[in-house]
Amino acid sequence: MKNNKKILLEIKDLKTYFFTEEGVVKAVDGVDFKVYEGETLGIVGESGCGKSVTAFSIMRLLDYPGKTIGGEIIFKEKDILKKSETEMRHIRGKEIAMIFQEPMTALNPVLTIGFQISESLRMHFNLNKEEASKKAIKLLTKVGIPVPEQRVNEYPHQLSGGMRQRAMIAMALSCDPNLLIADEPTTALDVTIQAQILELMKSLLRDFNGSLIMITHDLGVIAEIADRIAVMYAGKIVEYADKKTIFKNPSHPYTFGLLTSIPRLDMEMKRLNVIPGIVPNPLHFPEGCKFNTRCKFATEKCREKEPDLTALTEEHLVRCWHVDKVIQEAKKIF
């Protein structure tokens, strides 16, 4: 499908564990995916599935007691897990940038927006205060903040939620990174503002031909912006395919469950499908397939042995013993 595109980032068997007092939390337990140049990968999952930890592992921003204990993160053909902290500092912000969910807590409240945007510029490109400030104003214009010359001297609390998120995007894009990681960037925003931000992100991506990893639990947002999608559950990827496949031909019970249990504007639903049970406690994952306790297709095999990620087609991977059953159900609806 994308044979002519280069791979920008490839994650191989990534394992990040948290060594807490109460036990080992296997937050990311063997995750593989690729991000091609100019493409958007969506990572979908709920709280506790490991999607944010994956992002922090890529940025190597993990804090005690978390540690990446295995796997490879190959960025631009080099394994960045092997790089030193100094080398990572040159990569962060400049080649890989990240934006977070809560713009209020991700921005320093006592520094002006201009200062925070130009901080990165000054560090990576050695610009002086004036040059950096000029570039900051240009960036604010690019992200659609009106009257940027004035805003550049304002503090985060003087901006609205949508504006703050735009400022964060400006900060992230200031050094023209190759890869942008966005962790639930619109979840805290009003829906009309979310629409604005998503349109902005799509147009910026077109302009600078960068790659994006979009992390969210919102399948609607994923449908808008992602090219390929990885569905995560309990620290592992359970389904990995391009957008069309995921929405038209979901093959994992969890993916199928998600798509049919959320209320949607486009469908008249008599009754919502339910995924029974609760999101599992990461300290006590079930034996066998981690989803078996909530899966309506589960059999004895699922409770004993965990399935591997198998390829249904070259670009469609699923981790399930009963893919055929799911595909049958999905055909009825999609």
Binding site: S47, D190, V191, K243, L258, I262, P263, L265, I275, P276
Partner: protein
């Protein structure tokens, strides 16, 4: 024809902004600014809008958990705003609320059996061992094993805590329940459980819901009629199908078009609004939506449009509409 259970008339809630040494009131946050609507027995009215529109304040003010500034709230024929403290406390039996945050809405130091029994004890519905028997029944109704009634809230997940909150509200056998963003703080896969539960309970006990939410998809699924709010005012009221198929107000149109849909086939014209949601402290003159509206006329910046019934049951506050 169902009875009218609740009538909100010209409800106003302003919050004072105090500044200075002597705490002078320098301005007002006009959270709810003269709204009126009706709720009929057995239906679910969805109250939708973005942050700052006043929907949560509306729900709290109807219950007098925030005292309204002006207006009337007529419940079963009585204006409850006129009730004295003691009478109001008794009236609360009929009007309950489920809160958004499952983590802070339950007292962390109380066993859940006591949390649910508190209402029963306060209104002397049952006494002695009878009341815990009832607690057990309520827990079963909401899908929690009655054996767990001696546990504390922190031993339950978010979805389970929300169920406990529902049991607490049901314990008083209310006529109407305000659901204040009752599923927004839950994981996506849990939401459908709670939504289905609420629907089942409604059928079983002939409950009436005022469902406050910002998620239009949930509103569309669960409501019979929808009230759309913007900056303290109601901009459109219609029953569900009418609202989504024949949207009249420009804000409602923009709101519906902004919702991301998990489908590849869904084509829509995205209406992207300019600017941010303004603050309710200093709302725009005339129609509050006019600065962001693509169809604004001169009249819109001068005169505020009233809520007019343009079709049976379909109300809009808009000049061009």
């Amino acid at each position: 024809m169902a009875n009218m259970l609740l009538e909100v008339k010209n409800l106003v809630k302003y919050f004072p902004i105090k500044k200075g040494v002597f705490k002078r009131t320098v301005g007002w946050v006009k959270a709810v600014d003269d709204i009126s609507f009706e709720v009929y027995e057995g239906e679910t009215v969805g109250l939708v809008g973005e942050s700052g529109c006043g929907k949560t304040t509306t729900a709290l003010t109807i219950l007098r958990l925030e005292e309204p500034t002006k207006g009337q709230v007529i419940f079963e024929g009585r204006d409850i705003l006129k009730l004295k403290k003691g009478e109001m406390r008794k009236e609360r039996k009929n009007m309950q609320i489920i809160f958004q945050d499952p983590y802070s809405s339950l007292n962390p130091r109380m066993k859940i059996k006591d949390i649910i029994a508190e209402g029963i004890i306060t209104h002397k519905i049952l006494t002695g061992r009878e009341k815990y028997k009832r607690v057990g029944e309520l827990l079963e109704l909401v899908g929690i094993l009655p054996e767990y009634m001696n546990r504390f809230p922190h031993e339950f997940s978010g979805g389970q805590r929300q169920r406990i909150g529902i049991a607490r509200a049901l314990a008083l056998e209310p006529k109407i329940i305000m659901c204040d963003e009752a599923v927004s703080a839950l994981d996506v896969s849990i939401r459908s459980q709670i939504i289905n539960l609420l629907k089942d309970l409604q059928k079983q006990f002939n409950l009436t819901y005022l469902f406050v939410a910002h998620d239009l998809s949930v509103i569309k699924y669960i409501s019979d009629r929808v009230v759309v709010m913007y900056l303290g005012k109601i901009v459109e009221i219609a029953d569900k199908h009418e609202l989504f198929n024949n949207t009249l107000h420009p804000y409602t149109q923009a709101l519906i078009s902004a919702v991301p849909v998990p489908s590849l086939d869904y084509k829509k014209d995205r209406i992207i609004l300019k600017g941010d949601v303004p603050s309710p402290v200093d709302p725009p003159k005339g129609c509050r939506f006019h600065p962001r509206c693509s169809r604004a006329m001169k009249k819109c910046s001068e005169k505020e449009p009233g809520l007019i019934e343009v079709k049976k049951g379909h109300f809009v506050a808009c000049h061009p509409a």
